[in-house]
Symmetry: C2
Subunit: 321 residues, 2 copies
Amino acid sequence: MTVSIENWAEQVRAGDVRAISRAVSAIENRERDAEEILRQLFPFTGRAYRVGITGAPGTGKSTLVDRLASHYRVEKKTVGIIAVDPSSPFTGGSILGDRIRMQGHATDAGVFIRSMATRGFLGGLSQATRDTTLLLDAAGKQIILVETVGVGQGEIEIVRLADCTIVVLMPGMGDDVQSLKAGLMEIGDIFVLNKSDREGADRFEQQLKGILQLVPERDGWKPPVVRTIATENKGVAELGRQIELFRKHFEQAHERQAREIAHWKEWILQLLETRLMERVAGKYLGEKELDAIAAAVAERKTDPYGAVNEILARAGLGEDH
Amino acid sequence: MTVSIENWAEQVRAGDVRAISRAVSAIENRERDAEEILRQLFPFTGRAYRVGITGAPGTGKSTLVDRLASHYRVEKKTVGIIAVDPSSPFTGGSILGDRIRMQGHATDAGVFIRSMATRGFLGGLSQATRDTTLLLDAAGKQIILVETVGVGQGEIEIVRLADCTIVVLMPGMGDDVQSLKAGLMEIGDIFVLNKSDREGADRFEQQLKGILQLVPERDGWKPPVVRTIATENKGVAELGRQIELFRKHFEQAHERQAREIAHWKEWILQLLETRLMERVAGKYLGEKELDAIAAAVAERKTDPYGAVNEILARAGLGEDH
């Protein structure tokens, strides 16, 4: 069966699960159709609220995302969930395991769930995630939950362009390390202390609040700490309430338009960078040649500038360009 | 006076301060000559040891770098110092103030000092710093100290390709935040507790050591904590000793060649990315047009994919490329 891109875009806008799934696959596999459908859908974006959720493995992020989705479903809001694993070259076991827990939503057409992982040596996962966010936005999902598995620079890049970023922590051994990792304190708009029935939760909450007092406020917002026990659905409504408070806080802020434009400036530069690397490195370099060049450079048999110039020249972007 | 690039490169290799300064300026200003001289000098690189030094403002990094330079001068080693400020669009007051303290080295031809800051909307500071490191390497500097001012993702990128990374902390208010910021725990090969005569130093050292025990070891190296009082030159020799231990540890490691090749793979991809953005965004986009496109995208008057495609087409990298 062949459908025109126009029809396909129509189906996505109508919320057709198969059409959406096929479009996400096209985005992941960098098919040419992907960009065409995204262009057609773009005018219908800008209505979804994007919530990024990050935190170390084992903090219960997936369960929390699951419960948060249910919370929004009770409010009759449609939900999209994107689970991203920047460290994995494929969608691995733990995500699959997590997704199984989410099967409560499997028969609910109001929830779309998708896992995404890194493909190829050029990465590009951030861009694929951003594209998928726009896709689900156009598909009418009112809330888009972007969950990153693991902690690192990749995750920060992924959640940075969300409207609201939630950092999930938990009490117990290793807390200090988790919170130390990857500048989480700087990116959190809301902090969740999950598994808050565990020993040491009170002490940890106090420490966390002490630290947050020292972090400079952004635009008059003071990041709250929400205690949850996701497995028992405790604190989830309060989390939903804080997300709503944060949304309203920034909708009323005067600098909203300036923030939007700054957001898109960065988005456009990142898209340009991704496309340039795809079209030039993907086409004129390749991973095998990169290995060979790196080995030659390490031995000083060639220099990196000359090697890069040669690739640029192949792409018609030589020095005299 | 015009000199050929060959003569200029010769002067750099001979350690001529004016020739080196002029080459750093050419790198900063992205002059075409810069790449030519770097290519000529590349075969003579690979001998310097690059030490990255990062930490929050006020921890005394600059004084420490100053003392470390003196330490190496006593050992008759030549030193290059690059002070980088990713947050500043120009070399600002505090760096200038710091550099004044360094004037003890001003008449010492064995030390080359240079501050670098961000220029233009495309950034490119990481690449300029990496280029300058190679330049000073070819100029015969045996130790290159790369100091970043401030803490953030830019700094991490800058110090990440050093041979050894030192994270500077200090006791007192705000420590927790400083150490929490930007994933410093993950990048440090050696931790310095500067101003260690201040109150709370012992407690802070214990906390830090506790945290470091939980961070996974990399290749059998356990990051030490070195206590210093840089203003009194205390602990600096011990820091020098730890840097030497770290260097030897990795020279003996079996995976050294694999590390070198991985290092250059990343270096080459980053150089390619920088060049692509310079040649395409710098030439066919410009900051003003980016502002205009971002505003139009924010209002959904245009879509980002189409806008980026147009820029790619202008550069001869259109969809049918």
